[in-house]
């Protein structure tokens, strides 16, 4: 496991020995998005941080909750908040992730491990009675935390995609499209039961809903690409997230 906070990490940094540009691991859409944001300086960094906070803050809290024997290190929100405050403020944090070849969520989990290790060592130095580093490793090696993380990540990514599509619909003057989509797909109403409220036939309501559905699908796929999922693996990734919901 590599520490995302270290200047030189072992995993995935494919910088060629001749000093040429490092190889890219991620799909172009994701690389483009990250590159563009990183190239925008402070405002771009800030956008990436907001993105990470929205999508990964809660999953990481659940992940921490699943690490048995470490609860006395602190409350999950304080731990993850402290971790983000420390690591996300580092200028090269996302640059190094981009070169790592691993998914962002895995990179963030690895980073949390190292952050916790530092916390444990600091507390031991201060003679505070707490877990030791070996206990952390045992906790990491149990499968439970990953399951909790995936489940929360699935919730986060769907909620984020819905937020994005909602904003997009408002911007494009498609508020009725959005309402119809939510009433059918979220509240479970039949088109024929409510389409008259919009003075349209049920078929037109289903077409309007489909327009939003297409945008939602694109949003989910873009979010997974931004996490580092390769285009050919997005379908199986969605299935994996669905399976995590059944656990």
């Amino acid at each position: 496991m590599s520490d995302p906070s270290n200047a030189s990490n072992e995993t995935g940094n494919d910088s060629d020995s001749d000093g040429s540009e490092p190889k890219q691991h991620f799909p172009e859409t994701q690389v483009t998005w990250i590159r563009e944001r990183l190239g925008e300086g402070a405002s771009g960094q800030s956008q990436i941080k907001e993105h990470v906070m929205r999508l990964y803050y809660r999953p990481l809290q659940y992940y921490f909750l699943g690490l048995k024997g470490l609860r006395n290190l602190g409350e999950p929100e304080d731990i993850v908040g402290g971790y983000f405050a420390d690591r996300l403020s580092r200028d090269d944090f996302f640059d190094k992730w981009r070169l790592s070849g691993i998914k962002l969520r895995r990179w963030l989990m690895n980073g949390l491990h190292f952050f916790l290790k530092e916390r444990i060592r600091a507390e031991n130095r201060n003679r505070v009675r707490g877990p030791d580093v070996e206990q952390l490793q045992i906790a990491i090696d149990t499968p439970d935390p990953d399951e909790g993380f995936d489940r929360e990540f699935a919730h986060s990514i769907v909620a984020e995609a819905l937020q994005q599509v909602y904003k997009d619909c408002l911007t494009r003057g498609l508020k009725d499209h959005w309402d119809i989509f939510v009433r059918h797909h979220y509240h479970g109403e039949s088109y024929k039961d409510f389409s008259h409220e919009y003075n349209i036939q049920p078929v037109r309501a289903s077409v309007m809903s489909r327009t939003v559905r297409d945008r939602f699908r694109t949003a989910i796929r873009n979010l997974l690409a931004q996490d580092g999922v390769k285009p050919g693996e997005i379908e199986s990734e969605i299935k994996t997230l669905m399976e995590s919901m059944a656990n």
Binding site: V158, A159, Y186, V203, R204, V207, R210, M245
Partner: protein
């Protein structure tokens, strides 16, 4: 549109999702089995220009969009012309030159089928109603009027005649 009795539809109301809802939305994001119309739909969703669909129809038939609209989108068109377009599309599929010509063939194929339904009440394909409805609804969601209206009318006909 909504009063307080209507369901909440603001995105802010949808942040706390149950497992069942999240699973449903994830399932919606799956591609499912690849269908012949998918490459056309993908291209239409990516196309920024509104005239792209009409351009495909023009390419397939050799007629302008202005000439095609009365034939395909109104009851004034002749069913024989519509059938002719469908046969033309089958020939284009058979010849397969490149992706662009394949997209054109797909566009005129479904337009002809939808037009026959919408304007003449005739189903000129052996495809199941379920398959056909899904394809036409997807098309309606990706193109602009008058083509979208013609597709919607086709689905209404399909549903009313079973």
């Amino acid at each position: 549109m909504h009063d307080d009795d209507n369901p909440k539809t603001e995105a802010g109301d949808l942040t706390e999702l149950s497992s069942e809802v999240t699973t449903r939305f994830l399932k919606m994001s799956l591609d499912g089995p690849k269908k012949p119309i998918d490459s056309l739909l993908d291209r239409l969703r990516d196309a920024p220009e509104k005239e792209f669909f009409a351009g495909l129809l023009e390419q397939a038939t050799g007629r302008t969009a202005a000439e095609l609209q009365p034939i395909l989108c109104t009851k004034d068109g002749e069913l024989n012309d519509v059938l002719g377009f469908k046969n033309q599309s089958v020939e284009l599929f058979r010849q397969y030159k490149d992706l662009q010509s394949h997209l054109s063939a797909t566009a005129i194929y479904f337009s002809a089928i939808a037009s026959a339904l919408a304007n003449h009440g005739k189903k000129i394909t052996s495809q199941s109603n379920e398959e056909l409805e899904a394809a036409i609804l997807d098309l309606a969601a990706t193109v602009d009027p008058p083509w979208a209206d013609m597709f919607i009318n086709a689905v209404e006909q399909l549903r009313s005649h079973g």
